[in-house]
Every structure is written in C-alpha cells, then in structure tokens.
C-alpha cells in the first residue's frame, strides 16, 4: 500500500528530477510552443512536494492537484491537476493506494484530461503517454510497475515523434513538429524517472 508519506517521498523525488530536467523541457517546448514547460513542471512538483499531506490518500492527491493549480496554470499544469483530481476522487477515504488500483488511476486521469483538454488519443500529446502506460501496467506485477511504465512512456515518445502535433500550441507548427518529441510526453517520462529514483 502506498500511503501519504510514500506519496510525499515520491513528490520530492520528482521535484528534484524535474528541476534538473527543467531546461531540457523548456527548450523542447520552446521549439514547439512558448518554452515554459520545464518551469511549469518543476514549479508544480516543488509546490506539491512542499504541501502538508493528510492521511487520506484521496485528500492527499487533491492537495497535490490544488498545489499544481496554484503555481502553474499553463496547459500542462492544469492537465496534471485534472489528472490528480480524477485519481483523488477514486481514492477518497482510503489511507493507502493499492498497487493493483494504479492502472485504473492512470486510465482515469487520462480520461479526465481528455475531457478537460478536448484532446484525442493519437493527437501526439501527454494523453498518448498516459494511455500507453495505463495499458502496459495492466497485468504487470507490482515490482515491475515503474520499469514497465518508463519503458512504455519512452516508447510512446518514439512512436509519435515522426507524426505532426494535433493538439495545443504545437498544432500550429504542423509539419515542422515532425521529428520532434512532444514536450509533454517527454516531461511525463522525466516525471516517471523521478518517481523511480525514490
């Protein structure tokens, strides 16, 4: 069971790793958008890592969502907050997240984020990474989960690299986006790596 203190530890790890990756993510976003993604992600996790988390893991996830909301309101921040909020609703009232719940939580986040951002799978966005991870995690044994997730996220980047972006600011770049990794997918990979380090 993943309790609130494990969540807090995970957030610290992600905050540290995304801070290191901040420049990389900003420049990836700079090539296809406004160049703020590294800041959005690192600021968001720093704020979340600094928040006091209650024992109820649902409320803890809600706290994470709100922290994100507060400091970073670029698309990615709002989408992640939406994802955390969706997971929070499912876990409310529990004191720990069961590992077998995880694929479902990722899928719920994916669906909520699709509804919020009006994006589709295949548009080349973080949604595709979430979908790949949710699928890969089904039937994955507990101990292998994070490795499986990282592999799935990394593969998803490559699968979409040579397609044009159809969502967010990157959409405006059309064919110019072919050959470039979607910044949001890249950020998601770095988030999972940060989680792994903990």
């Amino acid at each position: 069971m993943i309790d609130s203190s494990a969540i807090a530890k995970a957030l610290s790890g992600i905050a540290a790793h995304t801070a290191t990756a901040s420049e990389e993510l900003c420049s990836a976003d700079g090539a296809l958008g406004d160049g703020d993604l590294g800041i959005t992600v690192s600021k968001g996790f720093a704020e979340a890592a600094g928040a006091e988390l209650p024992n109820d893991v649902g409320i803890a996830l809600l706290t994470v969502a709100k922290a994100f909301q507060r400091v970073s309101s670029s698309s990615y921040g709002t989408l992640l907050a939406t994802g955390f909020m969706a997971a929070a609703k499912l876990e409310k009232g529990k004191t720990g997240i069961a590992p077998e719940d995880i694929p479902g939580l990722v899928a719920a986040a994916r669906d909520a984020m699709m509804a919020r951002g009006k994006g589709n799978l295949g548009d080349k966005s973080v949604l595709d990474s979430l979908d790949a991870v949710a699928e890969a995690l089904r039937d994955t044994p507990r101990g292998d989960m994070i490795d499986t997730a990282i592999t799935a996220a990394a593969e998803s980047i490559e699968r979409f690299r040579d397609q044009p972006s159809k969502l967010g600011r990157a959409r405006m770049f059309g064919e110019k986006s072919v050959g470039l990794a979607d910044p949001g997918q890249l950020a998601f990979l770095r988030i999972l790596e940060g989680l792994n380090g903990t």
């Binding site: 909301q69 670029s74 951002g117 770049f173």
Partner: protein, 331 residues
C-alpha cells in the same frame, strides 16, 4: 532586455499595483491578480469576466469598467491565470444575474476557465456561460474556425457584450449578443520584431533586420510567410484581402475596423495602414463606423500591427456606440 522593471518576478504584481493606484476610481484588486470594478458588482446586472496572460495592456485588465467588463483574472506574462483566480473573478463579477465568461480561445485559458466555472457553480451557485473569441483567421482554416485563437476582436466583444449587460439584458441575451459579436469578428496580425518576456529575459522569437512575418500571433505564434518588409499599402491590402476572403463584404455593409499596434509600432504608422484600408473599403462601398486606431491589444514592446473587421447590424452597432469608460478607452 530593454525593459523598465525591477525583479522580473514582480513585473505583473507591480504593474497591477501601479495601475490600480493610478486609477482607483476604475479598478480594484480585491484578490491578488484579480481586477474588479472599483464600485463592485452591480446588483441584478449580468457579470462579464475575462482572463488571460499579462503583457497585453489594455487587454485584459484594462477593459474592466462601466459598459465593459466586471472582473478579470490575470496571469504571468503570456501565461494563463489559475482556475482559482478565475473562480474569484467570477465571484466578484456576480451581481446575482449570472456571469458570462468571455475570453480568447487559448488551450490553457479554456481548461482553466472550464475548471473555474465548475468551481463557481459548485461553491457559490453562480450560473455561468462561455463565449470564446476565435477571430484570428490565420490560426486555423475556416472549416476548423472553432480552433482559431482569439486576438484583438476581444475589444469589440468586451464593448458590445458590456453594453448589453449594462443596459440590463439577462444572461442568455448577453451571451447571445457576445456570441454574435464573436462570430462577426475577423482579425489578422503581422510582426516586425519580438518582445521579451521579463522572466525569460530573451526575445520570444528571432527575425531578420529587414524581415516581417505575416499572420504572426500575439505571442509570436508562427504566421503564413516571412519575407522582406513590404510597403504599408501592400501589407494593408493583403491583410484585408485575407479578412474579406473569410468574411466577404458587399456594398452597403456596415463594419467597424480596428487597426491596432502590437506595442512599438507608432500611431503614425497605424494611420498609414488605416489610410489604405479605408480607400479599399470605400471602393467596395462598405461603410466604416467608429473606426479604432491605436493600442488596444498589445504584446508589450512588439513591433507590428493587427487589423480586425467586425460586420455590424443595427443591434451590434448601437451597442458598440453606447457609452463605456475605463482608463484606456472612453466612448
């Protein structure tokens, strides 16, 4: 970075503080980064809120005022405000008759405003509606017009919807009129130099010493072509051609036109553009009503201009001409 500022992190907050201090009869900041009318919400009147990134004065906050907006949530330079701030703006704008969310179609803003609407309905039981500005003809083809981003057409939407709300129309009616205004607006931009986001410290894009970009967005979003700077008349001609291709105008049509500086381009050059636009529209037999020439929607110190044409009917025209008053514009 040729900017006048202190710590870049304080750019937005100090700017808002100065703005409210300079015009306390118009603006108040009851919550950090939420600007509302100094007099507060008017009981029984439909509220209109907007929001978006800083760096576009008078857009967005500047248009809070009588006959215009009621409240505005404002983010960092070129960044969306948070849903929480937007929900505050909705709450501050509410006079009990519901609130229209009227803003430009940018992904981040839309997601946050959707969230904010849910929050306001849940927490304060405020009924809200949404109208998105999608006036930039370059940002998506006509078939996907709903994906276009909103630019200077906002000025007309704020003015016309604001007048409808001020005269006492109900939420559905204000929403209908705002949507009708949004549907009647077409805009296009061109840029000659970038601006610098204070916290980034470097220009938003690079462009050659003798180059211009047609169709560029107000945050430096890519346009249609980049080439040697053309004569003003050719620039105006192409911009109008593109607007008219999207929304044809015929003899006898009545329009208003906004020739807007992105910041550094001086009024002198806007009038040179207007001169040609006017000739062209005159030749078509189109009647211009209340033309606007000036800095109505900027990107700080960017050099360039946008042109917006709104096709009017009697309803829109009379609301456009109704009195309005903020620190940047008085009708």
């Amino acid at each position: 970075m040729k900017k006048i500022l202190n710590d870049p992190a304080d750019y937005v907050d100090e700017m808002l503080e100065g703005m409210v201090a300079a015009h306390p009869e118009t603006y108040a900041q009851p919550v950090r980064r939420v600007i509302a009318r100094a007099a507060g919400a008017k009981k029984g009147k439909v509220g209109i809120v907007t929001g978006g990134g800083s760096g576009h004065l008078p857009i967005f906050t500047g248009y809070v005022g009588t006959g215009l907006l009621d409240a505005c949530a404002i983010g960092d330079v070129f960044a969306s405000p948070s849903a929480e701030q937007m929900a505050e703006a909705i709450r501050l704008a509410d006079g009990g008759a519901g609130v229209l969310r009227l803003y430009g179609n940018y992904g981040g803003d839309v997601m946050n405003f959707d969230m904010a609407g849910e929050m306001a309905e849940m927490e304060h039981d405020i009924r809200t509606t949404t109208v998105l500005l999608t006036d930039d003809v370059v940002s998506a083809p006509k078939e996907e017009a709903e994906k276009r981003r909103g630019v200077a057409g906002m000025v007309y939407a704020f003015k016309i919807a604001g007048a409808a709300a001020e005269r006492g129309d109900d939420l559905d009616e204000v929403t209908r009129i705002a949507q009708k205004t949004a549907d009647a607006c077409r805009s296009i931009g061109m840029a000659l130099t970038p601006c610098t986001i204070p916290q980034a410290g470097k220009p938003t894009f690079e462009i050659g010493e003798t180059e211009m970009e047609m169709g560029m967005g107000i945050h430096g979003e890519p346009g249609i072509w980049r080439d040697a700077i053309k004569p003003a008349d050719e620039i105006a001609e192409e911009m109008l051609d593109r607007l008219l291709a999207d929304q044809p105008l015929a003899k006898g049509d009545r329009i208003s036109i906004l020739v807007n500086s992105l910041g550094a381009t001086p009024a002198e050059e806007l009038y040179i553009l207007y001169r040609h636009a006017r000739k062209k529209l005159d030749a078509l037999g189109v009647e211009i009503v209340m033309p606007l020439v000036g800095r109505y929607a900027t990107s700080m110190e960017m050099t360039g201009a946008t042109i917006t044409v709104i096709k009017l009917d009697e309803e829109l025209e009379s609301l456009l001409k109704a009195p309005a008053d903020c620190a940047f514009w008085r009708v």
